[in-house]
């Protein structure tokens, strides 16, 4: 069973359906107790960083997510669920502290001639081809992005893929059992489903 953390993120249904299509049995998890017994966990997210953090805190899923990660079981963060793994965001008026699993900040695209949000299909360059969730996915593959902010990991070796939109940024990261993507695999058609299938396979050990 894959636990999908349901703290009110708007795209939860899409993530659930895509994981199911990828072969997973999905349970929506609204309180920490339900995380026990999960083989893997997914933290979705869309919208504002602070909203995401505060909602997770209200449902006591904030520390539960960190504890889950420490069990070593596969964990996938998507979009704001990726950004939440970092210390803090530079989003307008943001004062919430992220999970702080990784050192670094979430910063905004520069703007100017660049259109923000970054919306649409962009390519990834695969930096660590041995990564199990990227099996069958190569550099040049397109994923769907929709965001104005992105994390800047202090440790450059965290980056799993990178993508260029004005700036070049870590569009996915990987450390041990933790995978996180700025793009939306649940909205990236066959390529996205492939990534989710790989993740589901990992959860089966």
């Amino acid at each position: 069973m894959i636990a999908l953390l349901d703290y009110g993120a708007g795209n939860i249904r899409s993530v659930q359906k895509a994981l199911e299509r990828a072969g997973a049995q999905v349970q929506l998890v609204r309180d920490p107790g339900q995380l026990r017994g999960a083989a893997a966990a997914v933290l979705p997210g869309v919208g504002a960083f602070d909203d995401c953090i505060h909602s997770m805190q209200r449902q006591e899923l904030f520390h539960a997510a960190l504890q889950f990660i420490q069990t070593g079981k596969p964990f996938l963060g998507i979009c704001v669920g990726y950004q939440a793994l970092f210390e803090r965001s530079e989003e307008f008026n943001s004062c919430a502290a992220g999970l702080g699993l990784f050192t670094g900040r979430v910063v905004r695209f520069a703007g100017g001639h660049l259109k923000v949000p970054h919306i649409g299909w962009n390519q990834v360059e695969v930096l660590r081809p041995g990564c199990p969730v990227l099996k069958g996915i190569e550099s040049g593959a397109y994923f769907y992005f929709v965001h104005s902010y992105f994390p800047q990991p202090q440790d450059p070796t965290l980056a799993l893929t990178r993508t260029t939109y004005g700036a070049t940024f870590a569009s996915a990261i990987w450390k041990d059992n933790v995978f996180a993507t700025q793009f939306h695999p649940e909205k990236s058609q066959q390529t996205g489903l492939r990534l989710l299938e790989n993740f589901v396979a990992l959860s089966r050990g």
Binding site: N11, S14, G120, N122, K187
Partner: protein, 257 residues
């Protein structure tokens, strides 16, 4: 590199996809039924559509209820971005559609009536969810006016001014419909598309008037649009999404193939 998007638009009337021949005529009964929205969505998904827009032209409570079902079914089968427009008047309407599986909601007349709806939606769901659709018509040399109510009601607003205001209020994307051209397959209005695209900091989707493959290429190159949205060119089988993208690629436009 970020690809330019090709977006089929499905006009949904009481759960069926229809297509009027000219702007604003759909409600007047000039409809052609072209099929089940979810079947069409699945077909376009397979052809490599980059997104899909569902537009509720029923504009009644009953129509909205059937739209929720359409979005749920589409979202269960198409793992791609979905936008819903038509008849969305409140933050609760937005929430209903987003919960059903839509990624973005598109507002037009309701934003003109209550501009603050843009801000409320952006604050609650994030700017990336809020699309403002603008119907405009060239009313004088070098002047484009915004029209409400499906293109029937002049607003006195200048199209560029309204586009900028919508973005200030929190719109994350604009859809620009040129009324003169829509449905008549006369081509996109390149001048106003480019002007708005250059003056706002968010993506601009060009809509209305795609009759040939070169119309689409032109609005992406000369019109500086970030995406093209079209209905009849796809529904009537004139071209597949893939054929459009292959043509755009030949013209040197970055697309996802």
């Amino acid at each position: 590199m970020l690809a330019k998007r090709v977006i089929p638009c499905l006009d949904v009337h009481d759960g069926h996809v229809t297509r009027g021949v000219q702007f604003g005529r759909a409600e007047a009964g000039g409809l052609r039924n072209v099929g089940d929205p979810v079947e069409l969505a699945v077909r376009y998904n397979e052809q490599g559509a980059d997104e899909m827009v569902f537009f509720d032209i029923t504009a009644s409570a009953q129509g909205r209820a059937s739209m929720v079902g359409v979005i749920e079914r589409a979202a269960d089968q198409c793992f791609m971005p979905l936008t819903v427009g038509g008849g969305i008047r409140t933050v609760e309407d937005m929430q209903t559609m987003l919960r059903a599986g839509a990624d973005k909601v598109s507002i037009n007349s309701s934003a003109l009536a209550t501009p603050d709806l843009i801000r409320q939606g952006a604050e609650k769901f994030g700017s990336q969810c809020i699309v403002v659709s603008i119907d405009c018509k060239k009313v004088a040399p070098d002047k484009w006016e915004v029209f409400a109510k499906g293109g029937r009601q002049p607003t006195g607003l200048d199209a560029v001014d309204w586009a900028k205001k919508a973005v200030e209020l929190g719109a994350g994307e604009l859809v620009l419909n040129s009324i003169d051209a829509d449905g008549t397959k006369a081509g996109f209005d390149l001048v106003i598309t480019r002007r708005i695209s250059e003056q706002v900091g968010v993506p601009v989707v060009a809509s209305g008037g795609a009759g040939t493959l070169d119309h689409m290429a032109d609005v992406l190159i000369e019109g500086q649009a970030d995406a093209v949205l079209a209905a009849s060119i796809f529904h009537f089988g004139t071209y597949t999404v893939l054929q459009v993208k292959e043509h755009l690629a030949k013209r040197g436009i970055p697309v996802r193939l």
